[in-house]
Symmetry: C2
Subunit: 385 residues, 2 copies
Amino acid sequence: MTKDVRVGIIGLGNMGSAHARMIAEGKVPGLRLAAVADVRAEVAEKFPETTFFESGSELIRSGLVDAVVVCTPHFDHTRYGIECLDAGLHLLVEKPISVHKADCERLIKASEGKDVVFAAMFNQRTDPAYKKLKHLIESGELGEIERVQWTITDWYRPDVYYSSGGWRATWAGEGGGVLMNQCPHQLDLWQWLFGMPETIWAECQIGRFHDIEVEDSVTAVMKYSDGKRGVLITTTGEAPGTNRLEVACSRGRVVLENGKIEWLRNEVENREFLRTTKNHFGKPDLWRIEIPFENTGEQHLGVLKNFAKAILEGETLIAPAAEGMNSVELCNAMLLSSAEGAEVRLPMDSVRYERLLKERIAASKPKEKVDEQGAVDSEEFAKSF
Amino acid sequence: MTKDVRVGIIGLGNMGSAHARMIAEGKVPGLRLAAVADVRAEVAEKFPETTFFESGSELIRSGLVDAVVVCTPHFDHTRYGIECLDAGLHLLVEKPISVHKADCERLIKASEGKDVVFAAMFNQRTDPAYKKLKHLIESGELGEIERVQWTITDWYRPDVYYSSGGWRATWAGEGGGVLMNQCPHQLDLWQWLFGMPETIWAECQIGRFHDIEVEDSVTAVMKYSDGKRGVLITTTGEAPGTNRLEVACSRGRVVLENGKIEWLRNEVENREFLRTTKNHFGKPDLWRIEIPFENTGEQHLGVLKNFAKAILEGETLIAPAAEGMNSVELCNAMLLSSAEGAEVRLPMDSVRYERLLKERIAASKPKEKVDEQGAVDSEEFAKSF
């Protein structure tokens, strides 16, 4: 195959427009922007050269595209995703792949037995720091992972952000708060680097910093069957906030923070030293290591390029969409644990969570105080993820 | 009053010997070492110039002392403490003041209405870093405290430490593990700096790194009525470990780590900026501040000096013993929460915890593998707290 893949974009919000522009500008070898769709007729003018549909389903049935990128509001990912897969089209879904696990299961089921590429937009997997950390873990250099602590409290969002749309930060509009909207990347990286825990206990504070009906502050503890423990803390209400990933392992301690990877490496593996030293207050000798890496990955562009190459040359996907269920499950389990005030065992019962979410959606109300003047700048928005 | 206070030390283990030596060497103005007591007759030779008793109760009744420092194994703090108070003697108790809250209540009750000085050995309150942080909080400079995260995983103890005594790290011998033995200082500083939480959820992993029957790895989440959240993580099994205290507040973020206090200060208070900014992705402007402080406090010596001055001149105590119940309650509540698999509300039911501890003590066994050769070096030991 050497012919370009004809791509359709469904949903021309901030992220969809950014992706469409990159493809239209020829930045993604192998992809050609063939059609765009949005329910708002007026956004057609953003891409005057490209066939426009007011309905995603029409775009899917048009015969004009071989592949689709779904960038609609979260709740429509499942529906359009399934339509694409049923039509035999290659599919790239924005994060989160669905709002809840049961929808993920439906989406993934629709992909079974289909000879299509099915990917998810987890652009942060292209970040050299996380790639390096993944390499260190998989190569065995770090030994056993004992403890993970990720504090991501620099997802700062002031009130004006939330009041820019009545649907923002509502259960009906987005299906969650910081976990569903800002944190899916870290939740995906978490499961990509450390795997899925056995249980989750979490507290999700609803509208602690902002007048919103969803969570804006979360503390979660994850237990793994091998004894490893993880703590994730996130909020949109803290300034200046922290983004620090600390990984304690038998070969020492790795910290990712401020664009640096610092590794304090135990010369002797801790578990061995612990058993064999004769010194009551001794510790393994250390090496202080800083691991250099390039500062930026290709992010969204990298995922789009990979999507093209996967279709044209069979390249391995950076983020197969089926893996996208894990971050949704982590998010759902945190919300479920907090609502029930109890630890949740994984795999989580997807029906139980769907029931909780539907109750919340039924009681959900669009925000009354909407500041139409405060429209979000699209470029700033795309950069912020 | 100008006459020196005649002090007796009960318990000549590592800490008791260190305190006795400081007093005997005249390092504590106003205190004179008048008597020492230990159940082991052979330790009398450590202090040949001083009257020795094989029984703490005899020392208390001897009429030779005006004040007592209790440095026995944890479980005897309550009993000797009460005897001292009933005899009208001034009292300084090593940490923890008792092993469980009900015993703390008994001890504190015995002090009521007595005209004596009743102090606890929380020497880390003399540390200039914590004093400075306390000053910043109390002066209002930090605004509202929003989140506290203290990772204290540098309490490293290899197996040889635990096998140095059959009683070590057993429920019967010490009444707990890292929380009862290493962490009381941080638990005290926690309540001193941030107050007591409303609820605690914790997991205490029993013998995760070591072959011991008590906890050696803890993850605890504390909720406060004002919305503030705290996470405390500690273990004796991690090398090199971390000691990092992060405090997020409306005036920015303070981090105590590696002997430094770093404060990223919000020029505008966060809660105000959040409400008033028109910029969706804006953040308050920052000042990067490093706060200098002297590197060491007077530690144990400082507390002994303060004890003397409190008796002789009415100086305010660094750590009134009644406050020592708080760190015990935090420790107990973490162990109770973990055992029950549920959040514990504070004030904790002291009877419920005493029942759990008694069950554990009944099932407790001294360690079989004891390495008598591996006796702990006393000076190294004292330094390690």
